[in-house]
Subunit: 125 residues, 2 copies
Amino acid sequence: MTEGSDYQHTCLIRGDGGRMLRTVLDRIANKWTLLVVATLDQNVVRFTDLHHQVPGISQRMLTLTLRNLEKDGLVTRTVHPQVPPRVEYELTSTGRSLIPPALALAGWAIENVPEIEARRALQEE
Amino acid sequence: MTEGSDYQHTCLIRGDGGRMLRTVLDRIANKWTLLVVATLDQNVVRFTDLHHQVPGISQRMLTLTLRNLEKDGLVTRTVHPQVPPRVEYELTSTGRSLIPPALALAGWAIENVPEIEARRALQEE
DNA sequence: CGGGATCCAATACGATACTG
DNA sequence: CAGTATCGTATTGGATCCCG
């Protein structure tokens, strides 16, 4: 939304007391959601493939994460009636629109985490 | 590998298995951090003012949030030796650099949360 | 004024086992 | 293959009281 000025619109963050932002954070601010979204961005993915492509995630957490994303309309779940079952997950357009903000955060992470971790290490001596 | 502009760099997110991104999320993905950062972006702020400007936060959580931000070098804490004490908080340059990604997320929130909440409401009938 | 200490409830997460 | 069910632990956040 073309915020072309250099004035920092922190009102966007604090706007309604931060309720909107917190609603989003409550959903994505966990261990797996953004990783799953990022993985789905590449293509339509089956459950097991997702399980392999997100290293460390348990079946339980993958299921929970996907169910939550589905409830919010960020992911579609398609069951192909076969034996063995074939279930595919795909981002909706809303889900895909989350990628750029996620990338912004990831970019910041890559630039600043090394410094942050160095600082943490110093203080734990 | 910096030429493909429309290529989705989700590798930024998944890069190291998402460790960097998760490190950042572990810090900011809580109820108060981004709200405190957004409030501090405007000026140097005293503890009590912060307490009033972030509605709903408890003293305990404000203290914890500020301590964590300080440990990571995103916020400076300045104690003025007076009675009664005067303690001021301010963003570091690293802390200020977090504002744009936070705004990106907040912008996404404002555009999409209404739809998400409508969908949630439908499913809880 | 700016916290710290303590207690408590809720939730998030992981491990394991089982199933149509 | 794609889950569900159950259990146990760790972490998070809120409430309250106290202190220099």
